[in-house]
Symmetry: C2
Subunit: 117 residues, 2 copies
């Protein structure tokens, strides 16, 4: 938000990258979608909608969001569009979390020794 502030990009620190991806995964409905997709393989929108508790249009929207984040990809097949997982970005997110973990561990170690001495 804050469209007033002309996106002054704090000072320093380039594009953080994976944030939009996490945002895409940060919705229950969406996460349930990817769970479904990674469990049952490629599915059409109606299939995905069935038992989702929300409208077909809502599902379509979510799919587009996921697609925009590169988590999912849809191809039109006849009159239906089939959606499947795209792992690349997910892997990226994983790397991000791993980096955080290892970096924090390292810092912890540093702090510990600095206390010990």
């Amino acid at each position: 938000m804050s469209a007033r502030r002309p996106s002054v990009r704090p000072r320093g620190a380039g594009p953080i990258g994976p944030a939009p991806l996490f945002a895409a995964l940060g919705d229950e409905t969406r996460l349930r979608l990817v769970a479904r997709l990674c469990a049952d393989g490629p599915l059409s929108i109606v299939r995905l909608t069935a038992g989702s508790g929300v409208t077909r249009q809502a599902i379509a929207k979510h799919l587009r969001v996921l697609a925009h984040a590169g988590v999912v990809r849809g191809i039109r097949h006849g009159r239906e569009s089939v959606w499947e997982l795209e792992l690349r970005q997910v892997a990226e997110a994983r790397r991000c979390l791993e980096r955080i973990s290892s970096q924090w561990d390292e810092v912890l170690g540093r702090l510990k020794t600095s206390v010990e001495r």
Copy 2:
């Protein structure tokens, strides 16, 4: 959202869990916060605010969001409150992503063989 719909919990599928966590990480400012924390170790709010491009209050809000998601923990130390990473939930998120990846790989394999035969 959808407060009207009395949280009917689709049909089947219990609490998805990690979604709120991803949501917490799904904001640039917040992600930059955890990056900062995991790089420099525990920091006070003013320290974290410096060079962030947003208000101290905004930072405080974000920290509370992260804390609520279990990514971060703050303890009051004198007149300042110091915040540090808490890795447990992050690890949870990692596991979630890994599960997705491996499950998808498995499905891919199954599909492939079913095509081959």
